[in-house]
Each structure stands twice: as structure tokens, then as C-alpha cells.
């Protein structure tokens, strides 16, 4: 039986306080015909019938096992070694939450500690938290953190237009209640130099993404120095797999490094769950958002793990906490940790290299198809922009008939970029798959 804490008398007191007579009056704002709509549900099914129906429904999905995909734009299809699933499926690990009690949670705490350590190694930073919901919220938290580091005396976050459009939208949602404006991303042509021109004594931070949303590697050498000269912080949004091959942002002076961690062993899945990684320098660690697990010794001198730096958090600091979300994605972070441990430094580099070479092979082939052009202004990693002879939406409809999921239609994020497709190639895209894509493009555009 459910526990009902309020009796009729309690409810009456509350209704009186609200100035309504009955509970039903609270729903007066909902149009009457929508309050109790008739649900036209089919007849009940037996379990085998239901399983058959659900299986038939799932067959209508265009999934990555049956289709060749060139869609990335923030969610990436990479191989997940079997050991990842095997380890994270252990019931001892099955929680999305950070464990408060070290005496019963050493395994999960150690998993998070190792995740943090590997994120630090990958990003070149000193400290990592236990993760955020996704890349978008990690970007938003980075701006909030930078705002706190600057003691809320600065009010503008300068953001590259080539940061993932959804991350930019999420950041704007987050800072609504703060006295912070996100600026600089109003035109796709605002390049690094233009953004640096906007960095001044009111700038909290410069947020740049590399590889950027168009797949290009940004040349960030010297950028941190110029940002720091203006007293602002440099926030770099990075693809964790690209860091297996390219210089970590810590090497070129980033203050905060964040990004989407899905590519590290987590399946591509609509709506997630994904994870956001978040790392910073030691001198800023007291301003870092989120949970942090630390290594210590117990009374007998044995190595152990506990939540640390908790005085930053909302249950202690209330409204002055570094973040009002101190939850994390423990199981996804563990997945990322097992993935990184399974591949190791060399394995991560190898995956990144294959992505790089396959993407460049695909770009070279596409450039030879009449009507198609590869727009390569800068070096790219695993995604690149293709100018098409027709609207991307129409092209993608044709490609679906070929069993191909086409690339991202850039017009969705950047008005004025009609006929431009963002193509993604990973180690899961075979050479045969690329050649089949080329054949389809030739046919469709002929």
C-alpha cells in the first residue's frame, strides 16, 4: 500500500492557501476535452503476441546493423569491444548514481577514479569530475564554472559558431538565470581571429570546439595566451577519440576541457544515455562542477576511494554551490573507463588513425563524383563538409532506399548553407561501404 502523507484536513489547509475549493480546480487551465481524453487502445495481447508486435516495430528502424551510416554530428558509431558490456553488466555496478558510502562502494568509486584519471591523461588536464549528463550540459557547466572563477564580475561567454549547435542552445538555456550572455556565434563566418577580437575585459571565457562541428581541426596555438591576456578562460570542446591522435588541449593552455564521451564505448542511441566529460587545471578545482572521487588510505593504511571536495556541492553550499547538478552518469562513465582501459593508449591512437584515413579516402572519392565538392578549408578528422547538387533532405531520402543513412543536413543548424552535407566516417565504415556510398551518389545525382 502506498504511503500517503496527507490527510483530508492537510489537503484542505493547502487548498485554502491556494485559494481553490477542490483539487480539480487546479486543472482548470487544461481545456476540458483534454482532461480525460478517450484512449483508443487496441485489445490486450499475450506476451508472445506482444513480443512479435514489438519485434515487427523495431524492424522498421533504420539501424546501424542493417544500414551503412554517414551520420555523425555529435553521436558516433565506433566499435565496442565485448569486454565493455561484460564488465558494466555486473550487477554490482548497476547504478546511474554516485555512491555516497565508501564502505560499500569501493568498486564503483574505483571505477570512477580510474575514469577521471584516464580523462585527465587524454585531455592533458590535472583534474576531472565524475562526468555530466552529456556533452551539451558539460559545455554549459564549463561556462557557469568560468563565471564563478571570474567571481561573476564578467558577463559574456564568447562562443564559436562551430561549437555543436545543440551545445550552444543548451548553454543558452543554462545561463538564462545568470547575468551571462552567450555571444560570437551569430554568423558561421566568425572565425577564431574574429572571436579573439571580441574577447575583452567583460569576457568570461572563449568556447571553441576542435574538431569543430564541421569536422575541421582548429589551430589553437597561441589562442590561450591571447585569451588569458584579457583575463578570460579558454574552454575547449573536444572529441575524446581525436585526442588519441592529436595534441591534448592541456598542451596548448586550455583551462577547461569538456566534450561528449559517448564515443568511448557507449552505443549510439537516440536520447542517450550519454555522458559529458569535464576536466580542468588544479588551481581551478575548487570551482569545478560535479562529483569528484579521490584516492586515500583507510585507518589501516590501505588504498581506498571516497568522494572528495564535497564542500563545493549543493547539499553543503546550497545556492553558492559550484553547480546545482551534482549527479553524474556513473554507468556511462564506467563504460568509458573500461573502453579506454581495453584499448589503451595505442588502441585509441589506432582507432583515431583508421577514422582519419577512412574519412580522407571517402573525401577523395566523393570529390570525384560529378556535382559533388568537398569543402576542406582546414585539416579534418573524421567528418567533412560536402557540397551537393541538390538539397540534402532530398538526397538523403534517395540514399535511404539504397540502405544508406546520409550525412547531417547543415541547413538545419546554419541558415544559408543549403545543399551542404556533413559526412562522418569512422572505423566502422568499411571501404566497401564507402564505395557503395559513392555508387549511390553517382546514381542519385545522374
Amino acid at each position: 500500500m502506498p504511503y500517503v502523507p496527507h490527510g483530508d484536513a492537510d489537503r484542505q489547509v493547502m487548498l485554502n492557501a491556494l485559494g481553490v475549493r477542490r483539487v480539480d480546480d487546479l486543472f482548470a487551465g487544461v481545456p476540458e476535452h483534454l482532461r480525460y481524453p478517450e484512449l483508443l487502445l487496441p485489445e490486450p495481447l499475450s506476451e508472445p503476441e506482444l513480443m512479435a508486435e514489438l519485434a515487427a516495430m523495431s524492424e522498421t528502424n533504420a539501424d546501424l546493423r542493417h544500414f551503412v551510416s554517414f551520420l555523425g554530428a555529435g553521436a558516433y558509431y565506433h566499435y565496442i569491444p565485448s569486454v565493455v558490456e561484460q564488465i558494466v553488466s555486473r550487477s554490482e555496478f548497476y547504478t546511474a548514481y554516485t555512491p555516497y558510502q565508501p564502505e560499500i562502494s569501493q568498486g564503483t568509486l574505483q571505477g570512477i577514479f580510474e575514469y577521471q584519471s584516464m580523462i585527465c591523461a587524454l585531455t592533458g588536464m590535472d583534474a576531472s569530475n565524475a562526468s555530466h549528463y552529456d556533452g551539451a550540459t558539460a559545455v554549459a557547466e564549463a561556462i557557469v564554472m568560468a563565471h564563478n572563477v571570474k567571481r561573476m564580475k564578467r558577463h559574456t561567454a564568447v562562443m564559436s559558431p562551430l561549437v555543436h549547435p545543440e551545445y550552444r542552445a543548451t548553454a543558452r538555456t543554462y545561463v538564462q538565470g545568470l547575468d551571462v550572455t552567450v555571444a560570437g556565434d551569430d554568423a558561421i563566418g566568425n572565425d577564431l581571429e574574429a572571436l579573439l577580437q571580441r574577447v575583452d575585459d567583460d569576457t568570461i571565457c572563449l568556447v571553441v570546439q576542435t574538431p569543430n562541428f564541421l569536422g575541421e581541426l582548429e589551430d589553437l596555438r597561441g589562442v590561450a595566451e591571447r585569451v588569458h591576456e584579457a583575463g578570460a578562460l579558454l574552454v575547449v570542446v573536444a572529441d575524446p577519440l581525436s585526442l588519441g591522435l592529436f595534441k591534448p588541449p592541456g598542451d596548448y593552455g586550455a583551462d577547461i576541457v569538456v566534450g561528449e564521451g559517448q564515443a568511448l564505448g557507449n552505443a549510439v542511441s537516440f536520447g542517450g544515455p550519454y555522458l559529458g566529460f569535464f576536466a580542468t587545471r588544479e588551481k581551478l578545482v575548487h570551482k569545478m562542477a560535479g562529483r569528484v572521487v579521490g584516492e586515500t588510505v583507510d585507518v589501516e593504511g590501505k588504498r581506498g576511494f571516497v568522494l572528495t571536495l564535497a564542500a563545493r556541492e549543493q547539499h553543503i553550499r546550497r545556492e553558492r554551490a559550484t553547480s546545482n547538478i551534482c549527479s553524474n552518469q556513473a554507468l556511462n562513465a564506467l563504460t568509458a573507463a573500461v573502453y579506454m582501459a581495453a584499448l589503451g593508449k595505442r588502441g585509441l591512437r589506432k582507432v583515431a588513425e583508421i577514422c582519419y584515413h577512412r574519412a580522407h579516402y571517402a573525401a577523395a572519392q566523393i570529390a570525384q563524383v560529378p556535382g559533388f565538392d568537398v569543402v576542406a578549408r582546414k585539416p579534418f578528422f573524421k567528418e567533412f563538409v560536402v557540397q551537393c547538387p541538390m538539397p540534402v533532405e532530398a538526397l538523403n531520402r534517395h540514399l535511404l532506399e539504397w540502405g544508406i543513412i546520409g550525412g547531417y543536413d547543415l541547413a538545419r543548424a546554419y541558415p544559408g548553407t543549403q545543399n551542404h552535407m556533413l559526412v562522418c566516417v569512422t572505423e566502422m565504415t568499411t571501404r566497401a561501404g564507402i564505395d557503395y556510398f559513392i555508387e549511390a551518389l553517382r546514381e542519385v545525382s545522374a
Partner: protein, 133 residues
């Protein structure tokens, strides 16, 4: 619990030592005892300016983080860098090596709003009585 003579105190338990238009600021023995073991002190930067009553530093103990308020308006001319590596100085020597910042006063007349040692001692007794109810 010690209340150092010659210092001025604020109701939020910071002390001030006046020196030629400048003031050294720290937290009282009572405040450090209430906080327990201090593990981190976040200080402002030289050049930052504050209005009297503004939060200018944060003290973290193992289980709490407390804001510290500047008792007088002014510009920070020096911060106690020793606290970065040795935050325990706040516990060991609240009126000495555990000082927080030195500020150049914007308005010396503001000192009239602060308590002298006797008034602060009486204030602590008064507060303790309130707490017992």
C-alpha cells in the same frame, strides 16, 4: 576562546587591524573554532575592490564551505599566499599568520560601524545565550 585587543570586529566574525589607511583582515578565533579544520581558503586577487559587507573569500573545512565578508570597503593590496599551501594557519594563528588580505581603505570613516574587542566579547556572550534557547 581569544578576543585580541587592539582589533576591530564585525558581527560576521571578521577582524580588522588598521595600519596607516590600510587594514589587515582575518577571521576571529571564535570563527575558526566554529569552522573546524580548514582545508582550503579561496582568496581574492590583488587589485580586486570590494564594498563593505561583500563576500571576498571562502573558507572550506572538511564538511562545510563558508563565505567571508569584507568589513570595510577598499582595494586588495596583498593576500596571504601562505594560506594556499597551509590553510591550517587559520586554525593555528587566526590573529597572526592566518590573516587573509590587506586592503587600502576607500572610506576610513566606515570603521565606526565595527566593534572593539570588549564589544565583540560581549556580542559573543550575547550570541551564545541566544543559541542556548
Amino acid at each position: 576562546m581569544k578576543v585580541e585587543k587592539q582589533l576591530l570586529y564585525a558581527e560576521s566574525h571578521e577582524w580588522v587591524r588598521l595600519e596607516d589607511g590600510e587594514a589587515v583582515v582575518g577571521i576571529s578565533d571564535f570563527a575558526q573554532e566554529e569552522l573546524n579544520d580548514v582545508v582550503y581558503v579561496e582568496l581574492p586577487e590583488v587589485g580586486d575592490t570590494f564594498e563593505a559587507g561583500e563576500m571576498f573569500a571562502t573558507v572550506e573545512s572538511v564538511k562545510a564551505a563558508s563565505d567571508v565578508y569584507i568589513p570595510l570597503s577598499g582595494e586588495v593590496v596583498e593576500v596571504n599566499e601562505a594560506l594556499e599551501d597551509s590553510p591550517e594557519l587559520v586554525n593555528q594563528s587566526p590573529y597572526g599568520d592566518g590573516w587573509f588580505v590587506r586592503i587600502r581603505l576607500a572610506d576610513p570613516s566606515e570603521t565606526e560601524t565595527l566593534m572593539d574587542a570588549d564589544a565583540y566579547a560581549a556580542y559573543l556572550v550575547e550570541e551564545a545565550d541566544k543559541g542556548e534557547h
